[in-house]
Symmetry: C2
Subunit: 175 residues, 2 copies
């Protein structure tokens, strides 16, 4: 099946000029969801990953199923203020202002092999923040995997510049 056909595009969301790629239609497709998890997991079947890190909130959906498929643990990286224990945090830029991501400080151990999963790679801002948090914790981020990539926004280059392998399943032109 063609995964791209299961993704709905919503023009002008959340604001004028943005073509929003809505992956909830992929999730709700029985075959689309299973296929996306198989494809996201495939490059890592022969690596013994310790944990899959999912970025709130759509990254939880894909990351948790990939963790289950690969027999790894799952670590959530959340928006600031949601996690109850000691955390590492990292700010990242939004169009106006910034936001902060957090991870429990004891969620990963030094040297653990980690795959970061999120639904969308655009400029790479949130993924870079997640990787910096993991590096503070001493983990080895092996790769980052995304359902959708917007190549024109340059996220892949930023991540590869940090030595991170990048995988994505579907590409869309433009924003």
């Amino acid at each position: 099946m063609n995964l791209k056909d299961t993704i709905r595009t919503i023009p002008d969301f959340p604001k004028k000029g943005i073509m929003f790629r809505d992956v909830t239609t992929l999730m709700t497709s029985r075959r689309g969801f299973a296929e996306s998890i198989i494809q996201l997991s495939a490059p890592f079947q022969d690596i013994m990953l310790d944990n899959i890190v999912g970025i709130e909130a759509r990254g939880f959906v894909f990351g948790a199923a990939v963790a289950y498929e690969l027999g790894a643990g799952f670590v959530p990286i959340r928006k600031k203020g949601k996690l109850p224990f000691d955390t590492y945090e990292e700010a990242y830029d939004l169009e106006y202002g910034h936001d902060v991501l957090e991870m429990h400080a004891d969620a990963v151990r030094r040297g653990e092999k980690i795959l970061v999963v999120d639904d969308l790679l655009a400029t790479g801002g949130t993924a870079v923040a997640a990787i910096k948090i993991l590096q503070k914790a001493g983990a080895k981020v092996v790769a980052a995997a995304f359902v959708v990539e917007l190549p024109e926004l340059g996220g892949r280059k930023r991540l590869e510049g940090m030595g991170i392998e990048v995988q994505s399943l579907v590409e869309f032109d433009g924003q």
Copy 2:
């Protein structure tokens, strides 16, 4: 393994007197996470469920992996304002004021068999709101499954009163 042992308790979070049951330590346990998904899925292996519904945000983690295990689709129910397409919504009471959950109006079809998954069953307020949304959409909610149940808070009775089968993996006394 004993799943209960993988859940961390944090006293006085998010406020004095609450014993917060932190399931992130279960997620990060390779064996604990796999075991939780197997146990959540087991009662439904012989029913052809159409979709698993996960409630934002921890319900996404368990619900998505259960959907993958059962070969079903996954439908997110989110806090208001996060979903880009037409939605059904339902308010639910918090200690002070209320909050609103939303689901895409075309995410499920009339008559579809649905399992609702969340991390915690306390008073049942969010689960009841999720079930009402699904009923507006004409879906048949077969059951609701939770990792942790706090039996003293009465959520099970509320859901069973709506004709919903309730499953949970671990119980804790008190709040």
